[in-house]
């Protein structure tokens, strides 16, 4: 019974992999595109460029020119506007909130989130409209081992589902949603024990089906995958850190407010954290603690948790952080460069440098100004939202 259900669940994912392989999106060879006249926040070494322009060819940034004109290129003039790299959302359930939960088991390590992605859903529009071009699609928190996350370039056309990493992280959850009355585990310690067991027994069973179901865990054991651990309150984060040190692994923690009680440990262990989006109505101390983390040099990144959260949550969080004595660039990095680095895709996205993807957002004014609106969003050189 369970196996069949699982098969049913697996086929679409395979199909979509094939689609992705056949029609690799964003690779269209065309004439060059020159983005001109804007103030460019390249989150890279070049810093902020005034009066520079981007030369885009084949979806990549070919060149960042100091001058303003370039022969044989279609010119788009954004003079007086601001440009930042496309936002990177490091933890989201976008377009598949109900498809991203497999209720039959607690440990479902073979599921790949990519299969649940639906390019036609309105949430994708929302995300693109808010400037999010890269998203890490994650299984939900209800399962102890939810499955494998996939890092996508968002785009609205069904054939062009294009992923940076098909298998990004292994989603593990110590959150309260795991501990339900109608199934094991019913407590946090039980969850940890169960996880340890499944990691120990990984690959011991002979049955091929079993082995296939455990592939995520196996990859984790081999070190091919890194864990992405959802833990909100003190005990959960403490358990997560203990688990990581037990298995000598580096990982990423998706944490809430209580993350700030572990600043020393995080600093030592070089564990980067993803923060749920800031809202207004948060007490000031939270913003202050977040900025203190950044000052320590710990990489933090804000996530949108769509559709639980909202797409503009990223920009709001950066805005509030900026309001709290953080320099604007640093605040912007928490939604562009740092998430890219945490996801390990900084070679492709996250900043505007030569050779990287041409993902960028054009603002009418300063990016973190209440009155400035998004004029255009480009994903790998193509205008995806206006």
């Amino acid at each position: 019974m369970r196996k069949t259900r699982l098969k049913i669940f697996l086929y679409p994912s395979l199909v979509i992999f094939l689609c992705a392989a056949l029609f690799p999106g964003g690779e269209e060879k065309g004439e060059a595109l020159l983005i001109k006249g804007a103030k460019i926040y390249t989150m890279g070494p070049k810093g902020v460029l005034l009066g520079a322009s981007l030369l885009i060819e084949g979806g990549k940034i070919k060149k960042i020119i100091e001058g303003l004109d370039w022969p044989q290129a279609q010119v788009v003039d954004y003079s007086g506007k601001c440009i930042i790299p496309g936002l990177v959302d490091a933890h989201t359930y976008i377009s598949g909130y109900y498809r991203l939960l497999e209720n039959s088991q607690v440990v479902t390590s073979d599921l790949v989130a990519l299969a649940a992605f639906d390019p036609l859903s309105p949430e994708v529009d929302e995300a693109l409209a808010a400037g999010i071009t890269t998203a890490n699609l994650c299984p939900r928190n209800e399962n102890l081992v939810g499955g494998i996350t996939s890092i996508l370039k968002l785009s609205k056309d069904p054939k062009g589902v294009f992923f940076l990493k098909k298998e990004g992280f292994l989603k593990i959850s110590f959150a309260k949603d795991v501990e339900r009355d109608d199934r094991a585990p019913t407590s946090l310690m039980g969850a940890k024990e169960m996880l340890d067991e499944s990691l120990k027994n990984a690959g011991n069973q002979g049955d091929r089906e079993e082995i296939f179901q455990e592939q995520g865990i196996l990859k984790l054991a081999k070190g091919e995958l890194q864990p992405l651990i959802a833990a909100s309150n003190y005990e959960e984060i403490n358990t997560a850190l203990k688990w990581l040190s037990d298995w000598k692994k580096k990982g990423v923690i998706v944490g809430g407010e209580e993350v700030y009680r572990f600043i020393e440990e995080l600093n030592k262990k070089e564990i980067s954290i993803l923060l749920s989006p800031f809202l207004f109505a948060f007490p000031d101390r939270i913003f202050e603690k977040a900025s203190s983390l950044l000052k320590l040099g710990i990489k933090i990144a804000f996530v949108s948790d769509m559709p639980e959260g909202e797409a503009s949550g990223l920009r709001t969080s950066a805005l509030l952080l900026f309001h709290q004595e953080m320099p604007q660039e640093e605040a912007l990095k928490t939604i562009t460069l740092y998430p890219a680095q945490i996801l390990g895709v900084e070679s492709v996205v996250g900043s505007l440098e030569e050779g990287k993807d041409a993902d960028f957002v054009v603002f009418s004014g300063e990016p973190l100004d209440l009155s400035s609106k998004i004029l255009a969003v480009y994903s790998s050189g193509r205008l995806v939202s206006k």
Binding site: P122, E123, D125, E126, A129, A130, P277, L279, F280, A281, P283, D284, G309, E310, A311, S312, G313, R315, T316, L319, F322, H323, P327, Q328, E366, L368, D369, L370, S371, S372, K373, I374
Partner: protein, 405 residues
């Protein structure tokens, strides 16, 4: 230097002695902005304010050059924690929100948001949920905090109010005349019913009957409200509800205040003609903060800030409040993100200072920085490169209650 002197300034009651704040840029919501003015404070009141005023001998001087002063904010509607339960009856106009005010509460978070006084409102989930009061979130506990006892009466025409709970009337004591009855359904469950009930209550003539006494009790406050024309805050969001509210006010000669008013922009002319003030509810969800952001699905009623900006520009008396109670600490943000519609700073700040004070008739004490008013002053500081100035100190009745390092 001045900052140090500020931090050193005592946090003590200032009775008897005079204080002077010198050199600050003052946004008095009464006249135009004073670039470098002086405020004299005595006994928690503003003794004098102006461009060039001589500081008397022995006055303790606060050097505030480089600072921006605003009057303390007034939240036009606040529940002090989203406690939604009032009463079982769907209309209980005799219940007063002052009864659930916590005189000993800790209001430091409200101060951090610049809120020094609020209109303590009654919830939205009953047809007539009761009378509200204007209170100050001050430091001296007790009766001194109450500014105006019965400031307004709230009526809700929104759909939360249209499904009152089943009510049980306890017979006391049980007898043949009044036996134990099962729980009964209550009025109203439709907008029509609400309309009928309200009309019935407002022009109610005493009659003999078993419910007469009760009905008299209930309708007494309404009569009072009509005679002394209290502002009647009517919660109405959709256009239809607003129309209904206007008609009701017309018939019953009520001095109407529209609360919510998401779609009130369609009625601008009428509102202007009858000068009916509006307490506009602003949606502070991330997607609505930034212009042009879409969010799916689009809810009903349409809470697009554009509508509210139309109201603001039309010159109607408008007060702003967040749609959700938890955002009440961000009143300043709420005003500021209407900048994009080209409204001046003072216009916007007025919507959370003097306008609500006018609506609830307490402008003689709070709402602006004028001679004789309470010395509720916010000290802002503008840092270069930041989008907005930041609140650093809060002064209530001449004493500094909140300071940010």
């Amino acid at each position: 230097m001045c900052l140090i002197s500020l931090l050193l300034s005592p946090v003590l009651p200032t009775f008897g002695q005079t204080r002077a704040i010198r050199g600050a840029k003052i946004h008095t919501m009464a006249s135009e902005v004073i670039e470098s003015g002086v405020i004299l404070i005595r006994d928690g009141k503003i003794a004098d304010i102006g461009e060039n005023i001589s500081v008397p001998q022995g006055a303790e001087v606060i050097e505030a050059s480089g600072w921006i002063l605003y009057p303390g904010f007034m939240a036009p509607s606040c529940l002090l924690g989203s406690q939604e339960i009032v009463n079982f009856e769907s209309f209980s106009p005799d219940s007063s929100s002052l009864d659930r005010f916590d005189f000993y509460g800790d209001y430091s978070r409200y101060w951090a948001g610049g809120i020094t006084s609020i209109y303590l409102d009654t919830p939205k989930n009953r047809l007539i949920s009761g009378k509200g009061a204007v209170v100050k979130l001050g430091t001296d506990h007790g009766a001194a905090l109450v500014i105006k006892k019965d400031a307004a009466l709230r009526i809700n025409l929104v759909k939360d109010a249209l499904l009152p709970p089943m009510i049980k009337i306890y017979p006391a004591p049980v007898s043949i005349e009044n036996p134990i009855t099962p729980t009964q359904k209550q009025f109203p469950s439709t907008a029509l019913g609400a309309y009928g009930v309200l009309q019935g209550l407002f022009n109610f003539e005493p009659y003999a009957g078993d419910l007469a006494k009760y009905m008299e009790e209930i309708s007494a406050p309404l009569k009072q409200a009509q005679e002394q024309n209290w502002p009647i805050v009517i919660q109405c969001e959709k256009a239809a509800e607003i129309g209904q509210a206007l008609e009701l006010a017309e018939q019953l000669k009520l001095s109407l205040v529209i609360s919510g008013g998401a779609e009130a922009s369609q009625f601008v002319d009428i509102l202007k003609a009858k000068n009916i003030p509006v307490i506009a509810e602003v949606n502070l969800r991330p997607n609505d903060i930034f212009p042009g952001a879409k969010s799916f699905p689009i809810e009903e009623p349409n809470t697009d800030p554009k509508n509210i900006s139309a109201l603001l520009r039309s010159g109607i008396l408008v007060a702003l409040k967040p749609m959700e109670e938890k955002y009440i600490f961000d009143l300043f943000w709420i005003t500021q993100y209407f900048q994009r519609y080209g409204l001046s700073d003072d216009e916007l700040i007025k919507t959370i200072t003097i306008n609500p004070a006018r609506i609830f008739g307490v402008e003689s004490r709070i709402g602006s920085l004028e001679k004789g008013k309470d010395a509720d002053i916010l000290f802002f500081q503008k840092e270069t490169g930041k989008p907005l100035p930041r609140l650093k100190k809060v002064m209530i009745e001449g004493r500094i209650v909140h300071e940010k390092q």
